[in-house]
């Protein structure tokens, strides 16, 4: 045992600031390169950094550390939890279900295991299986992480008001990491947006930015509210801010729409080009799964074959209501009415009150 271990007892409690946390954890790893506690703390800080930057190189750095940690002690619970967090980020949902089921047998009191099990079950569309796992998590550890997941489950299964109530609780519980609270505020903003309360939505997006200034989903939220109010310049400004932080395909798609509404064809074409580049990059990386890009292409009526490929491939990884909604929409735009109706039925199975589902369902119902 070295003096490092006593330091580690405190590291995670003190550094709410992720860069400071990384710096301290690096020192710890340098002093004790084979100690799981040190390796795990650095890996965990990298995963938080990845959340904050959407830079997936941090995922790979975390993975190397966890490999090392598990080589030192293959039964270390924190290492195993981190390993599954990494698997979740790689969308290996079935694997995480299998792993966490095995782990809870030995560690039934560990809320993180139940939380990851619920996450992956929801992604593969097994909502009935996710419910008891989630109940276990919130029973063991009521707080930001479990309330947030309960809220999402409620929304997916048709209870928008109950979802808002749970997400408000998550926000109250606040935690110590600004990005975590900002995440919940954006979730709450999105719930308000989807239920038509635009003022509340905007207030929550702004609160998220006060806490964590470069939070792209919050800028996108502000863009969404402005677009819904036909405040086009304001919407463009906010989507451009979001895009400058992380160029998600849906931001380019929204900007394209907004530029077209302004009659700015050249700018709209540039956004289309950006989308195509994003897709080319994905292809070059053998990445052929992306329901978000699939919806975008379907909306734009472009590359419909590729859109079908992207959406259908997603089913291999997950079969949640959002994947079926994306597939239904792409099938509809590609002219496959019967398939679209079937997929849409599956998307609506849980009565998810997402206005996008309602819009898609209306058009698909009229498809002949």
């Amino acid at each position: 045992m070295t003096k490092l271990s006593i330091l580690l007892l405190f590291v995670s409690a003190v550094f709410a600031d992720t860069d400071g946390r990384i710096a301290e954890a690096r020192k710890a790893v340098a002093a004790s390169p084979d100690t799981p506690a040190a390796l795990n703390e650095l890996a965990s800080a990298y995963l938080q950094k990845m959340r904050e930057t959407t830079d997936f190189s941090y995922l790979e750095r975390a993975e190397k550390l966890v490999d090392k940690s598990l080589a030192a002690d293959s039964n270390d619970l924190d290492s195993l939890i981190l390993r599954n967090q990494i698997e979740l980020n790689r969308h290996h949902f079935h694997k995480v279900v299998e792993n966490t089921r095995a782990l809870v047998a030995a560690h039934p009191q560990e809320p993180r295991l139940w939380g990851m099990m619920a996450d992956s079950l929801m992604e593969i569309g097994d909502y009935d299986g996710a419910e008891p796992a989630l109940a276990k998590m919130v029973e063991l550890q009521p707080g930001l992480s479990s309330y947030n997941r309960v809220s999402w489950f409620r929304f997916l299964t048709g209870d928008a008001q109950g979802a808002i109530e749970a997400m408000r609780r998550a926000v109250h519980a606040s935690g110590t990491v600004p990005e975590n609270l900002a995440w919940c505020l954006v979730d709450l903003g999105n719930l308000y947006f989807k239920t038509g309360s635009l003022d509340e939505a905007r207030a929550n997006y702004r609160a998220a930015l006060d806490l964590f200034p470069a939070f792209h989903p919050a800028f996108a939220g502000l863009g969404r509210v402005a677009a819904a109010r036909h405040e086009i310049p304001e919407a463009i400004l906010n989507y451009r801010r979001a895009q400058s932080i992380v160029p998600m395909p849906e931001y380019a798609a929204e900007l394209r729409e907004l530029y077209l509404a302004q009659g700015k064809a050249a700018e709209a074409t540039q956004e289309e080009a950006l989308l195509d580049v994003i897709d080319r990059l994905a292809k070059a990386n053998f990445e052929n799964t992306d329901r978000n890009l699939a919806i975008v292409y379907a909306d734009e009526g472009r590359h419909l074959d590729r859109a079908l490929e992207l959406a259908r491939n997603e089913l291999e990884f997950r079969r949640d209501v959002y994947t079926y909604d994306a597939l239904a929409w792409v099938e509809f735009r590609a002219g496959h009415c019967a398939e679209a109706r079937e997929s849409m039925t599956r998307a609506l199975e849980r009565h998810t009150p997402d206005p996008l589902f309602a819009k898609h369902a209306r058009e698909i119902a009229a498809c002949r």
Partner: protein, 498 residues
């Protein structure tokens, strides 16, 4: 021929520079998996016989660490979702016989106001209300964010429990943070209004106050790297006899100087919390959050009450003694089950650190001498008829020991020959950092080494009457004392050690 696409060129350059795995792919919904619970985080728990009335005992539960006094606009109210509890065992089974529960409600009185608290002079132009001089009624218009709270006492536990609401009909108001002298021109007078007499000899206070804990946190976290000047040699954190003997000045800076914390204090007659003619009690603080059902309506929504988030009996147990893998488990479990964690107390990591890093010859494991923190033993109870009870982290207090007058008080409590101090209960001024280090080093089995962090008292001291903690630091005028800054030694402006 088509024009070269500038985006493609840019992207290809990036692609050649480094593989971009799945950065733009549709992500799954990655909600945070773990989040420390700030509002429910217990920083300290105190229990001691009231200095000014030996027939009463005072309990103080502090939560929400390192509150920066200048951090407006809403500062740091208590969390209305959290149930704050003080639990007392008087039958020596480590289960609560009496529980005091506190719950808060936040009211935003002026939703249009940009900040939680505002006011100046007699008011400005009908826009800014008058300075805040009162918690209620006239003089309280500027308290836009106002917290009220309820107190109840539960006798017994489970199905046989009876609950009595102690909240007066006129209500209880939590004392807000000290914004500064323009908004709150006489903060001590305002804060004193937050002391409520509930009858039957019970007083309560809740609010933001100066953090009573004191420690060289930076040096402690830096693997106990205490500062030269605070000890004789450069390698071992041993205080000089003169520095060790003083209870009123520091040689190193108090890292918590200028920070606030939220505390709840309750003073009750000793007779209310003792039983069967025995004078010793065991106490601990608990924070809980509401149980939530996954579905908000339907057959399985029966409200599940509250779930424990954290607990504290003795100071520093979870921080220093319990191993990292078990910290959450420990926080959620109840004290009567603590034998499962006894391995940590019997062979503390810290002792190994002292041995390896500092060459302090600590006694070998198992450290049964440390069990005095975990059981009812005569060293505290003074009564061999009291059963030791299960291994449990409770703050044990023999209420028969009268309070020590200020002049005779030792920051080292029992180790300093002051039987009214830690670990016989814990007073706000007890130096639990130094005491814990010495206990781990073997002070109770004759290995008395003057270990210490060089911070011997709170930078702004304490009050001698209820609620004992100092009023909140002002947001405008707060000062954090850093290493090398003035603010240590007997002369106030002398610099602290670097």
């Amino acid at each position: 021929m088509k024009k070269a696409n500038p985006y493609l060129a840019m992207a290809l350059a990036a692609f050649l520079a480094a593989p971009i795995p799945i950065a733009f792919a549709a992500s799954h919904r990655e909600a945070p998996l773990t989040a420390l619970d700030h509002a429910a985080d217990i920083t300290d728990f105190f229990a001691f016989v009231s200095y000014d009335d030996p027939t009463k005992v005072t309990f103080i539960l502090c939560v929400d660490p390192l509150l920066e006094p200048a951090n407006g606009p809403n500062y740091f109210p208590f969390d209305p979702d959290v149930l704050y509890s003080i639990k007392i065992d008087n039958t020596y089974d480590a289960l609560e016989d009496i529980t005091f529960n506190f719950q808060f409600t936040t009211q935003i009185q002026a939703p249009g106001v940009f900040t939680g608290f505002v006011g100046a002079g007699n008011g400005i132009g009908g826009v800014i209300p008058p300075a805040i001089t009162s918690l209620t009624g006239s003089g309280s218009a500027g308290l836009s964010l106002k917290q009220t709270y309820t107190v109840n006492v539960v006798q017994g536990t489970g199905a046989n429990a009876t609950t009595t609401n102690l909240t007066p009909s006129t209500g209880l108001v939590a004392v807000p943070s000290n914004v500064g002298p323009r908004t709150m021109p006489n903060y001590p007078a305002l804060a004193k209004q937050g002391i409520y007499n509930l009858g039957n000899g019970v007083r309560v206070f809740a609010g933001t106050v100066d953090d009573p804990f004191y420690i060289d946190l930076g040096a402690t976290f830096d693997s106990l790297n205490f500062r030269p000047g605070a000890y004789q040699t450069g390698t071992v954190p041993i205080l000089s006899p003169e520095d060790d003997a003083n209870n009123s000045y520091n040689t190193a800076a108090d890292t918590l100087s200028g920070f606030n914390v939220n505390c709840i204090a309750i003073e009750v007659p000793i007779a209310m919390v003792t039983a069967n003619g025995k004078s010793t009690i065991g106490a601990w603080g608990v924070t809980s959050r509401p149980q939530m059902t996954v579905r908000s309506s339907g057959p399985n929504t029966s409200s599940g009450g509250f779930v424990q988030v954290q607990r504290m009996g003795n100071p520093l147990i979870n921080e220093v003694i319990i191993g990292t893998g078990d910290k959450d488990n420990w926080s959620r479990s109840i004290p009567s089950q603590d034998s499962q964690f006894a391995k940590y107390a019997l062979n503390p990591l810290l002792a190994t650190v002292f041995n390896v890093v500092y060459g302090v010859q600590v006694p070998p494991a198992p450290r049964n001498d440390l069990l005095f923190l975990m059981q009812y033993l005569p060293i505290i109870t003074g009564d061999s008829t009291i059963p030791a009870g299960p291994v449990a982290d409770l703050l044990r207090l023999n209420t028969k020991i009268p309070p020590t007058p200020m002049a005779n008080r030792s920051r080292l409590g029992l180790l300093g020959g002051d039987t009214a101090g830690f670990p016989n209960g814990r007073r706000v001024s007890d130096d639990v950092t130094d005491i814990s280090m010495r206990a781990v080093a073997g002070a109770l089995v004759g290995n008395n080494v003057r270990l210490g962090d060089g911070v011997n008292t709170n930078d702004v001291g304490y009050q001698e009457t209820f609620p004992y903690v100092q009023w909140a630091n002002s947001g405008r005028d707060r000062r954090h004392i850093n290493p090398g800054d003035p603010g240590c030694f007997a002369v106030f402006m002398a610099p602290c050690a670097r």
